[in-house]
């Protein structure tokens, strides 16, 4: 994750205008643009709505509407690592729910929350396409299969170490 959450707002504004310039003429630019901004800054700052709306000839409300419609886009900075736990049927069939409860207890947070040290943000996800190896999780876009409490503990402590 290259989350630049600590950058001051003028730097963020500069990055946003860079992404606007590269996406402006693309047909259906809004989603690719939001992906680019989140990939770079780590979330979609509300300050971005106005310049986006101007560049793409949309209203601020439309931009807000799109950002909030999609589960993937976050409106606030996340922790250093994002841990997604699959909650869908296949993982449920293999004890995913119990594993999720265990992870929440270990980290001391619920879904959509970040640990106090800012290390891990926990998110539910509905299918990672790893259903042949349930239960599955994804840590910072790397997928792991047949997870259990022991493997989870290793994974989390490895993530915390970096």
């Amino acid at each position: 994750m290259t989350a630049l959450t600590k950058e001051n707002s003028s730097q963020i504004a500069a990055r946003i205008s860079f992404h606007l310039a590269t996406h402006k003429t693309m047909p259906g630019a809004l989603l690719p643009l939001l992906h680019a901004i989140q990939g770079d800054i780590g979330y979609i700052p509300e300050d971005a709505y106005l310049p986006i709306s101007k560049a793409l000839a949309l209203s601020v409300a439309e931009v807000h509407g799109v950002v909030t419609f999609y589960h993937h886009f976050r409106r606030h900075p996340a922790g250093k690592h994002i841990l997604q736990i699959c909650c869908a049927e296949s993982c449920q069939a293999m004890g995913g729910e119990k594993l999720a409860t265990h992870i929440k207890q270990t980290l001391g947070i619920d879904y959509h929350e970040t640990t106090k040290d800012g290390a891990v943000t926990l998110e539910p996800v509905y299918c990672l396409g790893n259903c042949a190896c349930s239960p599955a999780v994804m840590l910072d876009e790397v997928v792991y299969g047949r997870m259990d409490a022991t493997k989870m503990a290793e994974l989390i402590s490895e993530a915390r170490a970096v």
Binding site: S90, Y126, A132, S134, G145
Partner: protein
């Protein structure tokens, strides 16, 4: 006999194989070879789809590829000690991980791999490998045909959309072909949101050129020069692989202007989705591609007539499009010869959930669920009885053991109020509480509803509450009966009053759970009770 060229070793790069440590295994093999001064050629192939055995490592021999599985880094030294790179090595044959020739594995031998013919065999991003394994033969034929001839071939093959709705692909293409428009589009639906499905992911990660070829043929057939792949954001590996393959295809003249020196132009771009299940629905997908909230559109107009940016658009699932090349290569009849009834060809079935031998099984339509669960699947992973099976994703019905002999066929499944959908099979053992699964079905609908229709948006949340009250009132007969009736009425309303299948089909998992596993709801188990509204419609029709 010492070979004069380095021995080829295959370690999959498919993300499910990676999720079980395939990268670590590959590194360990390379390091061990270096340490022993042995030159190897390490190829990162796709997965053969035997996921319970991943990481599955193969060594090329004159007789064919020999499989060793599952190989973890700790096993690597012992494989080298057993001379696993040496042909005819007796010690290697006796190694506990040796499975013999891959092609001879019963699990693979009993399949009919048409769409998945190359998956696991080739290096996914090697165009040379693709060409050496019959790649782009379909396109070469298509380039000699008229658009109408290509469409006829697809129609004659009997191919029906593999995304869930099973609509005949040729008919859809014919509509787009018949539209007069300067601009038309091919959109690949790669949103694969159903739990228990991963065949789209495997095609994109393990044989991306077949999808590119299929989309190119579609473009030539209907007169579209631009294609988009709408890819779910949960598939970062597929994104990388697709982009790499697209670049290679462009460089080799298989994409872009004057494809293979013809007069056809076809360009392709991958667009990332953003984690909304509803965007798998084709009109919601188009809204999303255009940069809006993924709200479902009213039909008509059909996307085929007014689709992306208002232009005629073919929207097809990954598997539908990836099946086009073999149809154009081997002919419509070759494909149509597989299958049963009106379900022609093969279905890539995905075994998931609580199954011992999970993985991808491509078979002609007509095999029974029981064969898949027990012959291929080997029963449950936990060793307990398989109690319920959900087929066709979160909107599919739960089937009890008494329905396991149903053949996989679109019409046979409709008859029992079930769906094949995208071919995902999720098994649950006897520890499952089906009232929780019914509750989850409503909950999922509430989370993913696009919000356009009241029965779906509000009804799903009410559904969760009603299931909770059913569970809480098991000993209060009067209240219990009232709540059960409420779920049935609500299901009827959702079935009838929803614009798309998210609201309209959520009652399938709910009612099938109640009807077949009534004991979990404090009900006497009952037979098949369907929707009142549907019965009324049937009588009227």
């Amino acid at each position: 006999m010492i070979k004069s060229y380095p021995i080829k070793i295959f370690v999959p790069r498919d993300s499910s194989a990676l999720s079980l440590g395939a990268d670590r295994t590959a590194k360990a093999i390379q390091a061990e070879a270096d340490k022993r001064g042995i030159t190897i050629e390490l190829i990162r192939n796709g997965s053969r789809g035997l996921f319970w055995l991943e990481p599955l490592v193969e060594v090329a021999t004159d007789e064919g590829r020999v499989a060793y599985a599952p190989v973890q880094p700790k096993d690597v030294a012992s494989l080298f000690d057993a001379d696993f790179l040496k042909p005819d090595s007796k010690t290697a044959a006796a190694h506990k991980l040796n499975l013999g020739l891959t092609e001879e594995l019963t699990w693979l031998k009993q399949q009919q791999r048409l769409t998945f013919a190359r998956v696991g065999v080739t290096d996914p991003v090697s165009l040379d490998d693709y060409l050496a394994h019959d790649g782009y033969k379909g396109l070469q034929n298509a380039l000699r045909m008229t658009g109408a001839e290509i469409v006829k071939s697809v129609t004659d093959s009997g191919l029906r959309g593999r995304g869930g709705a099973a609509f005949p692909t040729g008919i859809k293409w014919n509509t787009v072909l018949g539209c007069q428009s300067e601009q038309k589009y091919i959109v690949c639906n790669a949103d694969e949101g159903d739990s228990g499905t991963y065949s789209d992911r495997m095609i994109m990660e393990d044989d991306p050129f077949v999808l590119i070829e299929g989309m190119t043929i579609a473009g030539i057939a209907v007169g579209a020069n631009m294609g988009y792949i709408y890819l779910r954001s949960e598939y970062p590996y597929a994104l990388k692989t697709l982009n790499e393959a697209i670049l290679k295809a462009e460089q080799a003249g298989y994409l872009g202007d004057k494809i293979c020196d013809s007069n056809h132009t076809f360009k392709l771009e991958v667009r990332r989705a953003a984690g909304a299940y509803i965007c798998g629905e084709e009109t919601s997908l188009l809204e999303s591609l255009e940069g809006r909230r993924g709200q479902v559109r009213f039909k008509p107009p059909l996307p085929a007539i007014e689709g992306l940016f208002g232009k005629p658009t073919v929207v097809n699932n990954v598997i539908s499009l990836a099946t086009i090349p073999i149809i154009l290569d081997k002919g419509a009849q070759f494909y149509a010869d597989y299958g049963m009834g009106r379900s022609r060809g093969t279905l890539p079935i995905q075994l998931a959930g609580n199954i011992k031998q999970t993985g991808l099984v491509e078979l002609a339509f007509g095999a029974t669920l029981r064969e898949l669960l027990y012959d291929f699947g080997g029963g449950s992973a936990t060793g307990r009885a398989i109690r319920a099976v959900q087929v066709g994703g979160p909107l599919g019905a739960y089937l009890p053991e008494s329905q396991f002999d149903t053949p996989l066929d679109y019409e046979e499944f409709s008859k029992i109020w079930a769906v094949l959908g995208h071919g995902g099979i999720v098994a649950f053992d006897d520890t499952v509480d089906m009232s929780k699964m019914a509750r989850y079905a409503f909950e999922f609908c509430a989370i993913e509803s696009c919000g356009k229709c009241t029965p779906c948006r509000i009804g799903s949340t009410r559904g969760v509450e009603v299931i909770d009250r059913i569970i809480a009132n098991k000993s209060n007969a009067k209240e219990h009966a009232k709540q059960v009736q409420l779920v049935r009425d609500l299901s009827d309303t959702m079935f009838d009053g929803s614009l798309c299948a998210l609201g309209g089909m959520t009652p399938y998992p709910v009612l099938s759970a109640m009807n077949h596993f009534g004991e979990d709801f404090g009900l006497e188990a009952k037979g098949l009770e369907t929707f009142k509204s549907a019965q009324i419609k049937q009588v009227a029709a």
